[in-house]
């Protein structure tokens, strides 16, 4: 599995755990990282820049360090 997918799972778990509005939070992270989470699958190839952006967005929106 890719790092991007791992991050996506981490984000979805955090949303579930905190009972947040999944659409709104995923939308914010998607806009900040420039990538829709729906497009990230286990086969999505890792691009270092994309991973860094998603990680940064997750930190800003959900305050998680991945």
């Amino acid at each position: 599995m890719s790092k991007l997918y791992d991050l996506k799972v981490l984000i979805e778990n955090k949303i579930k755990a905190d009972g947040l509005d999944a659409v709104a939070v995923k939308g914010k992270i998607g806009l900040r990282s420039g990538r829709m989470l729906a497009f990230i699958s286990p086969d999505t190839p890792d691009e270092p820049a994309a991973v860094a952006k998603l990680r940064q967005a997750a930190k800003e929106v959900l305050n998680i360090n991945a």
Binding site: V23, A24, K26, G27, G30, L31
Partner: protein, 388 residues
């Protein structure tokens, strides 16, 4: 507060307008008050000068009439020609008490030239025989006709007339003089205008010892040392606080001069001064004019406060209205567009952006909604997303 927000910038601009508006009103009312007070001061000085001239002319006219009646009286004339002082006093004393109540304070008979000594002083009968040697004395001797004008004696400033008294053959037997203290004028002027006045005399023309004696006689405080260059002969105010002058009386322009405005407690005064010349043309004194403009000042301040309140209230209401309109017409709708865009990216493809208005933001909403539909249609074509 975030300075990058349009709301903050608009609010700052409106607050700046408020400050400029209030500052403008304050500056305008202050300027207006200065202009008005200056105009009032100019009007006070010129009005006082005119009134003084009128009173002076009126008193000269009165003394002229009295003197004409007097020299036509054979009993008085004969007693004077005969140099019979007791008889002259007997005929004139009753009249003097009446004239005194009308303001004529000085009445003298003078012997003819070359002596021209005082033969009888109705206001001080025991004192006679002295020579005054004043400008008007010389003028009446030179012209042998009536002369009039202001003359400053050792202890007082009076408007005087002198005229020859002829004997039965038409020769000059002496002179009669009437005078009225100028200090009395200021009280008449105050009763007519309500302004306060002070009569200032240059020390160059007043004898210090005579001034002290005169003050002692009238039971007045000796104010010789109050001012360096002049003495206040009389004033209409209870205190001399508002009569302050640092300049040289002799350099006061003929049309008068407006002095600085002063505040004394809650009262505001405008002040001015105009010169008073004697018969020879010397500036021997000046009239100090003080007008209380407290009521004008209060009215102006009230108007200023009302204007400031009006501006603050109207601009505050304007600010609230502008912010409310911006909020409902722009900011809230922009936030809605942002929320919908975020939801679409987050996976909610059904949320639509409603557009009810055909304004600028409405056009943006329509564009965004069209863009959203294109985007959702594009996503529907991606197989990965179909499964989810």
């Amino acid at each position: 507060m975030k300075w990058n927000l349009i709301r903050t910038k608009v609010l700052a601009a409106l607050l700046a307008c408020l400050v400029v508006g209030v500052g403008g009103i304050l500056a305008l009312t202050s300027y207006s008050f200065s202009r008005n007070s200056q105009a009032l001061a100019v009007e006070s000085v010129s009005g006082a000068q005119k009134l003084f001239t009128i009173l002076e002319a009126r008193e000269i006219s009165k003394m002229t009439s009295v003197s004409e009646a007097l020299v036509a009286n054979p009993q008085v004339r004969d007693a004077f020609v005969a140099r019979d002082r007791p008889r002259l006093l007997e005929f004139t004393a009753p009249l003097y008490s009446k004239l005194k109540s009308e303001g004529i304070t000085n009445w003298m008979f003078h012997t003819p030239e070359p002596d021209m000594a005082v033969f009888l002083r109705l206001h001080a009968p025991a004192k006679f025989g002295d020579r005054l040697d004043r400008f008007l004395d010389k003028e009446v001797v030179r012209t042998h006709a009536m002369v009039a004008g202001n003359e400053l004696a050792k202890a007082g400033f009076a408007v005087r007339i002198l005229r020859p008294v002829n004997d039965a053959h038409g020769s000059v037997a002496g002179y009669v003089e009437f005078g009225e203290e100028l200090g009395q004028f200021i009280h008449a002027m105050k009763s007519q205008t309500g302004d306060d006045y002070g009569l200032l005399l240059s020390k160059k023309f007043v004898d210090k010892q005579f001034w002290a004696d005169s003050n002692a006689q009238w039971k007045r405080r000796d104010n010789w040392n109050d001012n360096p260059d002049f003495v206040v002969a009389d004033n209409t105010t209870a205190t001399g606080n508002i009569i302050k002058f640092q300049g040289d009386l002799a350099s006061t322009p003929a049309e008068g001069k407006v002095l600085e405005r002063i505040h004394d407690g809650d009262s505001v005064y405008v002040r001015g001064i105009f010169p008073i010349r004697d018969a020879s043309g010397n500036t021997v004194g000046a009239m100090f004019v003080v007008r209380d403009i407290s009521s004008v000042y209060q009215a102006m301040r009230h108007t200023r406060n009302v204007l400031v309140l009006l501006i603050v209230v109207s601009l505050s209401l304007g600010m609230a209205l502008v912010l409310m309109l911006l909020n409902s017409l722009v900011f809230r709708r922009l936030q809605h567009i942002i929320a919908i865009a975020t939801c679409v990216v987050g996976g909610d493809y059904e949320s639509e952006i409603p557009s009810g208005a055909d304004d600028e933001v409405g056009q943006l909403e329509q564009l965004f909604e069209q863009f959203r539909r294109v985007f959702v249609h594009l996503l529907s074509c991606i197989p990965e997303l179909q499964e989810k």
